[in-house]
């Protein structure tokens, strides 16, 4: 993994919301094909960091290079970047007025300028990939949470991104639906996609993660290969957190 080129490079990132510092001096590197899992208590800045990676938030200090593009406020390349960096949200955020198929096609057609027939073929391919080809004509509200989240994953994949970001993709799901979404993510990992996943699903982390990051109070407290972080956390904060989420 270390010989691959880095696709996300963050150096000394700070982020403020008013007076509140949400990210403190965060430095991190994600390499092509790497699967990184970020965990940490609520409010520790995980979402904020992830959202900086596709410029949904702008960092206030430090340097951030994603997919070869340096992110600065008002950078003209931001839309280009977002086309190459997919994002899956906790609340799915599907477009409720569009069918599943249209949800998947609107990006390729309107943003990439793809022909509709081609976009539809792509959409059906990715629906197949997340195992719900039969739901193409339905509206999001007609699907279960797990199905909606898989549609959201497929929607991002239709843009043929090089990096996929997941912000607690299973946290809003009923327990029985979590595995179907994780399954789709594991399969995606097997295709070699670069993935940064904020999650507390430690089974998933063990199975697919190349690296683990533990955040607390806006800082990266610990990072390394998952086995290391799991079996031998160096800090008390990380140990405590892991014992809490692994208690069940």
């Amino acid at each position: 993994m270390n010989d691959r080129k880095p696709v996300i490079v963050a150096r000394n990132i700070d982020k403020f919301f008013g007076d509140f510092q949400a990210l403190r001096d965060v430095s991190i590197e994600v390499r092509a094909g790497e699967r990184m899992v970020i965990c940490g208590p609520s409010g520790s800045g995980k979402s904020t960091l992830l959202r900086c990676f596709n410029a949904l938030e702008t960092h206030d200090a430090g340097q951030l290079i994603v997919d070869g593009i340096e992110l600065r406020p008002e950078s003209p390349d931001i839309r280009k970047l977002r086309q190459n960096v997919g994002m899956v949200f906790q609340q799915f955020n599907l477009f409720p007025h569009l069918t599943v198929l249209e949800n998947l096609m609107i990006g390729p057609v309107k943003v990439r300028g793809m022909r509709r027939s081609e976009a539809e073929a792509t959409a059906r391919k990715y629906l197949e990939r997340v195992h719900i080809p039969e739901q193409a004509e339905k509206f999001p509200a007609q699907l279960s949470g797990g199905q909606q989240q898989r549609v959201a994953i497929a929607r991002s994949l239709c843009m043929e991104p090089r990096i996929m970001l997941f912000d607690e993709p299973t946290s809003a799901l009923d327990p029985e639906m979590i595995s179907e979404v994780l399954e789709a993510m594991v399969e995606l990992a097997q295709t070699g996609m670069t993935m940064v996943v904020v999650t507390h699903e430690m089974g998933f982390a063990r199975k697919v993660a190349d690296s683990m990051v533990f955040m607390d109070g806006g800082e990266i407290v610990e990072s390394g290969p998952p086995q290391e972080v799991f079996s031998n956390p160096r800090t008390e904060r990380c140990r405590e957190f892991l014992s809490q989420i692994l208690a069940f």
Binding site: N54, L56, R82, F95, H97, T99, V111, F139, R155
Partner: protein, 280 residues
């Protein structure tokens, strides 16, 4: 994909009302109440008019709707006035939606200048009486720009209602969850694309009822242009009275015609909403 069916914007199913409220809200009860109130008003004015020794001439009214002579069927003055009212209101409403959209987008934009301009506009319009605005447009701006009575009227109504429409649009746009914006941005959409394909289609469903109300409001306030003698329904009414002195009959008739127009509109839109309100 561009064709958006507002019906699909589902969201909360309507909460069922308690039984007595459902009864009060039901159509037969509404009609009954309405007929009762109208009966009392009409009956009261009849008695009042009788005491004044008023000479009722209802038989004169039909010829202002249509005439059948040897030349054949002809529409009367009232339907022609009604058409002008519809044309005037329709045109003004379209313009007011355009103005409203621009003002709402400016208000929601990150541009400080844009927000400033829209707030000044809103406060200005909100604090000037419609009648004064009409005089401004007709007597002051009209001669400067060479506007006709009709143009001045359309612009007055469009500007006045544009301010109100912009607030409806703003509320509708704000009602779309922030996650929708983020999802649209995250697949690389521009601000324009996000509005066009994601936000506005979802707002329409939310905005339809207040927009209908605004259109009804506009139709009613269009009567005010009779003060500068644009030949719409109210002006026609005044003209008929000035040479027949049948003020009671004519004003009752004109009021009824306005009511038929606005009720038809409201009922039509309600029907459309129902038709498309299939719960998804």
């Amino acid at each position: 994909m561009a064709a958006v069916d507002p019906a699909t914007l589902d969201f909360r199913p309507a909460r069922p009302l308690p039984a007595h409220q459902r009864l009060l809200n039901s159509t037969p009860v509404a009609i009954l109440l309405y007929v009762l109130v109208m009966y009392l008003i009409i009956r009261g004015s009849y008695i009042g008019a009788e005491r004044m020794g008023y000479n009722w001439q209802w038989y004169q009214i039909p010829r202002y709707f249509y005439t059948l002579t040897d030349d054949g069927f002809r529409w009367g003055e009232i339907p022609r006035g009604l058409m002008v009212t519809i044309y005037l209101s329709g045109l003004s409403f379209l313009l007011s939606v355009g103005i409203g959209l621009v003002v709402a987008l400016l208000r929601l934009s990150d541009l400080i200048v844009g927000r400033g301009v829209s707030i000044v506009f809103l406060e200005l319009i909100r604090n000037i009486p419609l009648l004064v605005l009409l005089y401004l447009f007709y007597y002051v701006l009209g001669p400067i720009f060479g506007w006709s009575r009709f143009t001045a009227s359309v612009l007055t109504l469009a500007v006045f209602h544009g301010a109100l429409v912009s607030e409806i649009l703003r509320a509708g746009i704000n009602a779309v969850p922030v996650g929708q914006w983020e999802a649209a941005k995250s697949i690389g959409m521009s601000g324009y694309q996000t509005y066009r394909y994601i936000v506005l289609p979802q707002s329409i469903r939310i905005m339809l009822p207040p927009m209908t109300g605004e259109f009804v409001h506009l139709i009613k306030s269009s009567a005010i242009v009779s003060v500068i003698a644009v030949a719409e329904l109210t002006t026609i009414g005044r003209n008929i009275i000035s040479h027949t002195f049948m003020s009671f009959e004519v004003w009752f008739t004109v009021a009824a015609v306005y009511m038929v127009l606005t009720l038809t509109l409201s009922i039509g839109v309600t029907y459309l909403e129902r038709k498309y309100a299939v719960d998804r």
